[in-house]
C-alpha cells in the first residue's frame, strides 16, 4: 500500500492507533503496512533504521489481528509499531549497537522493555540507528552511516538515539524507544521536535539494554506528544527482577488535574549562560510565561556545579564503558580477527571492530581507572558527582521542577562538530547533570527557529517525579498549541 498524500488521522497519535485497532475499526496489519511503506519510501534519505524485516513485522501484525479476532483485546499498545534503538536486545533480530564489532549479532533473548512491548500488543517495527554504543550526540558515530534530521536532512537528528527520533519525526513510526545516558533521548527529541523522557534511574529495566555506562543508562520513550510518551512509559516502566538497579513497584504515571497552579518552577541561572542560542532562549522564555499565566511561580535557583557536569560525566561514562565493552572480545560472539596469538586476536578484533569515538572513550576510561590515575580522575569524578547530587537536592528544596533549554542550539549540520570531541561533548551541557544525580528529565517541543528547526525545553525533577514531569509537560503542551503531527515527508533533500 502506497502512503496516501493525506496521512490518516490516527498517524498523529499512538493512542489513537491502539484504540482503533482495539475497537476493530483499524487492522494492525493495515497500520504495519502503512509504516512499512513510509519506511521504504523515506528511510533511504533519513537512514533512521539499521534493520527492518517487513515479513516479520507483517507476521507480528497478523498475529495481533488474530488475537483480537479471538476476543483477546488486552494490551495498551495493540497493533502500534514501535521503532527500537539498536542497543536494545531483540530475540531473533539483529542487535548491533551500530558497531561493526557486533555485525550480524542476534541476541538469544528479548530485553525486558522489548518483552513488555510485545506483551502489550506492540510490534517491533525495526531497529534504529545510533551513535556506536550510544557514544555521541549526533548519530554521526554510527558504524553504518549517519542518520539525518527529517526537519532538515543536512542536519543531524541529535544522538545517540538519533535514529529513533528521526523515525518518529519523519512519521516512519508512531513511537520509539531510545536510551539516555547523558541526554541521548532528550537531545534528539529536542532536535527532532519530539517528547522524550529520561526516567528516574531504575524506573525502567536495563536488562537487555547493551550497557554503555551502567550507572547512568536508562531506556526512555520518544513520542510525538506527551500523551503517547506517557502511554509508552507506562508499558515499559516498573520493577524488573532481572535488573538489580530496578526500583520496586509499578511505574506511576501522571496524576489527573491541574499541574501548573502553584507549581514552583526553578530557573537555573547557569542554564542561560553565554553560548545559548537566542532563539532557544526566546522559546524557553515563552514556556516560562505560559506557565506563569497558568498559575505557576518562577523561582530563580543557582546550580554552580553545572559547569563541572561535563568532565564529571565523561570520566564516569568512559570508565564504566571501558569495562562494559571488554566483553566484545571476539571470543563468544561477533566477528573475530584471527591474528596469531590470543592477545593479537583480541587487539585486532577490537582495534578493527570499534569506531574512532568508541576507541577514544575506551582509552580514556582505561586510563582513568588505571593504577596511579584512579584517585585523580575516577574517584574525583565520583566525589564531584556526589556534590552535584547534593546541589540538585538543595535546589529541589526551593522548587518542584527545573525548567530550561534541552540543548544550547537547534540541530547543527552534519560534520560541524565531528572533528572536535570536546565540542561534541559540550552538546550535553544541559542534559548531563540530571543523570549524574539519577533524576528524571523530559524534553518537549516548545517552538522552532526561523529556519523551521525544532526547539526543545527541558523539565527536570527530583527522584520519582517522572509522572509529575509528564503532567506538567502535558499542561504546557496544551498551552503551547504547537502542531505535533509527524512530517509528511523529510525536508531539505
Amino acid at each position: 500500500m502506497a502512503p496516501t498524500s493525506t496521512p490518516p488521522p490516527w498517524s498523529r497519535s499512538a493512542r489513537a492507533i491502539a484504540a482503533a485497532v482495539r475497537d476493530g475499526s483499524l487492522r494492525a496489519r493495515a497500520v504495519a503496512d502503512y509504516y512499512l511503506a513510509r519506511v521504504e519510501r523515506h528511510d533511504p534519505a533519513v537512514h533512521a533504521f539499521l534493520h527492518v524485516d517487513p515479513a516479520a513485522v507483517r507476521a507480528e501484525a497478523d498475529a495481533v489481528d488474530a488475537r483480537i479476532a479471538s476476543g483477546d483485546k488486552s494490551g495498551a499498545l495493540l497493533g502500534v509499531p514501535v521503532a527500537v534503538k539498536d542497543n536494545l536486545c531483540t530475540l531473533g533480530q539483529p542487535t548491533t549497537c551500530a558497531s561493526k564489532i557486533l555485525a550480524g549479532y542476534v541476541p538469544p533473548y528479548d530485553a525486558t522493555v522489548v518483552a513488555r512491548l510485545r506483551a502489550a500488543g506492540a510490534i517491533v517495527l525495526g531497529k534504529t540507528n545510533l551513535d556506536e554504543f550510544a557514544m555521541g550526540a549526533s548519530t554521526e558515530n554510527s558504524g553504518f552511516g549517519p542518520s539525518r534530521n527529517p526537519h532538515d536532512l543536512k542536519r543531524v537528528p541529535g544522538g545517540s538515539s538519533g535514529g529513533s527520533a528521526a523515525a518518529v519525526a519523519a512519521g516512519l513510526a508512531p513511537l520509539a524507544l531510545g536510551s539516555d545516558t547523558g541526554g541521548s533521548v532528550r537531545q534528539p527529541a529536542a532536535l527532532c521536535g519530539l517528547v522524550g523522557l529520561r526516567p528516574t534511574y531504575g524506573a525502567v529495566s536495563r536488562y537487555g539494554l547493551v550497557a554503555f555506562a551502567s550507572s547512568l543508562d536508562q531506556v526512555g520513550p520518544l513520542a510525538l506528544n506527551v500523551d503517547d510518551c506517557t502511554l509508552l512509559m507506562e508499558v515499559i516502566g516498573g520493577h524488573d527482577e532481572r535488573d538489580s538497579t530496578s526500583r520496586p513497584g509499578p511505574f506511576r504515571g501522571p496524576a489527573a488535574g491541574d499541574a501548573l497552579t502553584g507549581l514552583r518552577i526553578g530557573i537555573p541561572a547557569e542554564y542561560h549562560a553565554d553560548g545559548l542560542d537566542p532563539e532557544v532562549r526566546a522559546a524557553v522564555a515563552r514556556v516560562e510565561q505560559l506557565a506563569v499565566a497558568a498559575g505557576a511561580r518562577l523561582v530563580p535557583v543557582s546550580l554552580p556545579l553545572t559547569q563541572y557536569a561535563i568532565p564529571t560525566y565523561y570520566l564516569v561514562v568512559t570508565s564504566e564503558a571501558s569495562s562494559n565493552l571488554a566483553r566484545l572480545d571476539g571470543v563468544r560472539y561477533g566477528p573475530r580477527r584471527e591474528a596469531g596469538d590470543l592477545n593479537h586476536m583480541y587487539g585486532a578484533t577490537r582495534g578493527s571492530g570499534f569506531g574512532d569515538e568508541v576507541k577514544r572513550r575506551i582509552m580514556l576510561g582505561t586510563y582513568a581507572l588505571s593504577a596511579g590515575y584512579f584517585d585523580a580522575y575516577y574517584k574525583k569524578a565520583l566525589q564531584v558527582r556526589q556534590c552535584i547530587g547534593r546541589e540538585f537536592a538543595q535546589a529541589f528544596g526551593q522548587c518542584d521542577v527545573l525548567l530550561g533549554p534541552t540543548t544550547p542550539t537547534p540541530a547543527f549540520p552534519l560534520g560541524e562538530k565531528s572533528s572536535d570531541p570536546v565540542q561534541m561533548y559540550l552538546c550535553d551541557v544541559f542534559t548531563a547533570p540530571a543523570p549524574l544525580a539519577g533524576l528524571p528529565a523530559l524534553s518537549f517541543p516548545c517552538g522552532s527557529s526561523r529556519g523551521g528547526l525544532p526547539i526543545g525545553a527541558q523539565l527536570q525533577g527530583p527522584t520519582g517525579a517522572d509522572g509529575r514531569l509528564l503532567a506538567i509537560a502535558r499542561a504546557l503542551e496544551q498551552r503551547l498549541a504547537l502542531d505535533l503531527s509527524p512530517l509528511e515527508a523529510p525536508r531539505g533533500a
Partner: protein, 477 residues
C-alpha cells in the same frame, strides 16, 4: 645462615548452592562442556547480574564459622582483565571491602600442639570458566560451565612456618567449612583450590623475603610437596647468593616441581572499581545474628564434647569428627539410645570399614540408628553373640534389613534352651572321653576345650554361658 619459610594460603572455596552466583544456571559438576550456561554467564550484551541469596548466606556463615567480623553493608567490585575463560572481561569480586574480615582458625600442628592463625579476609566472587590447552594444539578450548559459580576467597595471615603447618591449617579450614555446611571442599572437583604465598628469610629476621605465589596445587598431599619443593628452591637460591624473583609459579604434579608461569601482560593493573550493575546490599545485623544462631556446632567443639561429656577416648573423638556426616550419624545413634562408647565402637569398626570397602557415603547408609540400637540390644540380651552381631550388621549395611530378620535368615540366633543344648553336651561328653578324663584329673582348662567342642557342634550358636553351666553340672554330677 639458617633460613625459615613464611607461608600464607589463599583458598578458593565453592559455595554449596544450587544455582550460580548471579544467574539461574545450575552450579553443578561434570556434564557436557558449555551445557550449564545462559545469556548472563556467557556475558551476552545487555545482561545483568542478580545476587543469589543462598550464596550470600553461605559466605556469611563462612565468616561466622571462622570468627570473622561480617559487614552489615556490602558492595561488589569489578576486577578487569582479559582472558578467554572470563566472559565479561571482568570478574565480579570484592576489593577493598570484603564481606568478612579478621577471623581466626585454630589448628593442630602435631598432637598436643595447636596454633591459631588469623584469617585476614573472606570475600565473595564468581568463578571463571575453564580454558583447556590440549597438548601440542595451537588453540585452547573454552568451557564456561564453571563461569559464575559462587566462591569465597579465604585469605590467611602469612604466618605458617612449615609445609606441615600449611597442610594442617588447610585440613582444619576444610573441616571447618564442611562442618558449617558451606562447601563440600572437594579438591578433585575443584570446589576447594589453594594458592600459596611462599618466601624464605634468615631465622630471626623481621622482614619478609621476596614472595612467590604457587598456583595449581591440586590435592591435599600436594600442598606439602609443592611447598617443600618451593622452599628448597628458594633456599638454594639464597644459599648461592642469588635473589628470589617475585613471580607466580605453577605446581607440576608429575615432577613435583614448580615452574614460572608466563607473565600475563599488564596483569597487575586490574582497574578495580565498584560494579555499577549491583547496588549496595543490606547484609543486616539481623541476618548475621540469625545465621550465627543457626550455625552448626563445629568439629572442635564436638571433639571436646565427646571427650568431656561422653568420655570417649581422644582417638575415637577424632575419628568421629573427621567428617560432618560421621559425626551426625554418631550423634543420631547416641540419640537413639546407644551408649556413646558402644556407638563409637560399632561406627568406627564395622560401619566405617564397610564404607571404606564399598567406597560408600555415610549419608547414604541403609541402616538407621534405630536398627543399630536394636542390633546392640540383641547382643546385650544375648540373643546374638558378638561375632554373630558383626555378621548381622554387615548384612544390614548391605541391604538395610532389620537385625532380627537378618539374624533369622542367617540362622545366627543363639541357642539358649538348656534342653536343646543338653543333648549336644551329652553327645560331646560321650565322644571326648580323654578331655573329660583330663578335667576330672584336675586340668581346669579342659573345660574350655569341651566348651569349644560344644560351640562347634552348635555351629557357634549355642549360648556359651548356658553350655558352661551344663558342662559343669554334668561333669561334677
Amino acid at each position: 645462615m639458617e633460613l625459615e619459610p613464611v607461608i600464607g594460603l589463599e583458598v578458593h572455596c565453592q559455595l554449596a548452592t544450587r544455582s550460580k552466583l548471579f544467574c539461574r544456571c545450575e552450579a553443578g559438576f561434570g556434564g557436557l562442556p558449555n551445557s550449564r550456561i545462559c545469556p548472563v554467564c556467557t556475558a551476552q550484551p545487555g545482561v545483568l547480574p542478580v545476587l543469589n541469596a543462598a550464596a550470600l548466606e553461605l559466605a556469611i556463615k563462612a565468616g561466622l564459622a571462622l570468627s570473622c567480623q561480617v559487614r552489615t553493608e556490602m558492595k561488589f567490585d569489578r576486577k578487569n582483565y582479559f582472558y578467554p575463560d572470563l566472559p565479561k572481561g571482568y570478574q565480579i569480586s570484592q576489593f577493598d571491602e570484603p564481606l568478612c574480615e579478621w577471623g581466626e582458625l585454630s589448628f593442630e600442628v602435631e598432637k598436643g600442639h595447636s596454633k591459631v592463625t588469623k584469617i585476614r579476609r573472606i570475600h565473595m566472587e564468581e568463578d571463571a570458566g575453564k580454558a583447556l590447552h590440549p597438548e601440542g594444539a595451537s588453540s585452547s578450548l573454552v568451557d564456561l560451565n564453571r563461569a559464575g559459580v559462587p566462591l569465597v576467597e579465604i585469605v590467611g595471615q602469612p604466618d605458617l612456618a612449615s609445609p606441615a603447618e600449611a597442610s594442617a591449617y588447610l585440613q582444619a579450614l576444610r573441616r571447618t567449612l564442611r562442618f558449617a555446611g558451606i562447601s563440600d571442599c572437594d579438591m578433585e572437583k575443584g570446589s576447594l583450590r589453594c594458592d600459596a604465598n611462599v618466601s624464605v628469610r634468615p631465622k630471626g629476621q623481621k622482614e619478609f623475603g621476596t614472595k612467590v605465589e604457587v598456583k595449581n596445587i591440586n590435592s591435599f598431599k600436594n600442598v606439602e610437596r609443592a611447598l617443600m619443593f618451593e622452599i628448597a628452591r628458594q633456599s638454594e637460591m639464597v644459599g648461592r647468593g642469588e635473589k628470589v624473583i617475585q613471580e607466580t609459579r605453577s605446581f607440576r604434579d608429575t615432577e613435583g616441581t614448580t615452574v614460572a608461569m608466563r607473565k600475563k601482560e599488564n596483569a597487575d593493573d586490574y582497574r578495580y572499581f565498584p560494579d555499577p550493575d549491583l547496588p549496595l546490599f543490606d547484609v543486616g545485623q539481623a541476618r548475621i545474628d540469625s545465621l550465627r544462631a543457626a550455625l552448626p556446632e563445629n568439629w572442635a567443639s564436638k571433639r571436646a564434647r565427646y571427650q568431656a561429656d561422653w568420655k570417649l577416648p581422644d582417638h575415637d573423638a577424632r575419628v568421629l569428627t573427621e567428617e560432618p556426616a560421621t559425626a551426625r550419624f554418631f550423634e543420631s545413634v547416641v540419640a537413639a539410645g546407644l551408649a556413646p562408647k558402644t556407638a563409637a565402637n560399632w561406627i568406627q569398626g564395622e560401619v566405617l570399614a564397610f564404607l571404606g570397602e564399598t567406597k560408600g557415603d555415610i549419608e547414604q547408609l541403609k541402616t538407621t540408628p534405630a536398627q543399630l540400637r536394636a542390633l546392640v540390644e540383641m547382643e546385650d540380651t544375648e540373643v546374638l553373640s558378638h561375632q554373630a552381631a558383626k555378621k548381622v550388621l554387615r548384612r544390614m549395611l548391605e541391604n538395610g534389613e532389620e537385625p532380627r530378620r537378618v539374624a533369622e535368615a542367617l540362622d545366627l540366633l543363639q541357642i539358649r534352651d538348656s534342653g536343646t543344648l543338653a543333648a549336644t553336651v551329652d553327645a560331646v561328653l560321650a565322644q571326648e572321653t580323654k578331655i573329660v578324663a583330663d578335667f576330672r584329673g584336675g586340668k581346669e582348662t579342659a573345660l574350655n576345650a569341651l566348651l569349644g567342642r560344644v560351640m562347634k557342634a552348635t555351629k557357634g550358636k549355642g549360648d556359651p554361658n548356658v553350655i558352661k553351666e551344663l558342662l559343669v553340672a554334668k561333669l561334677r554330677a
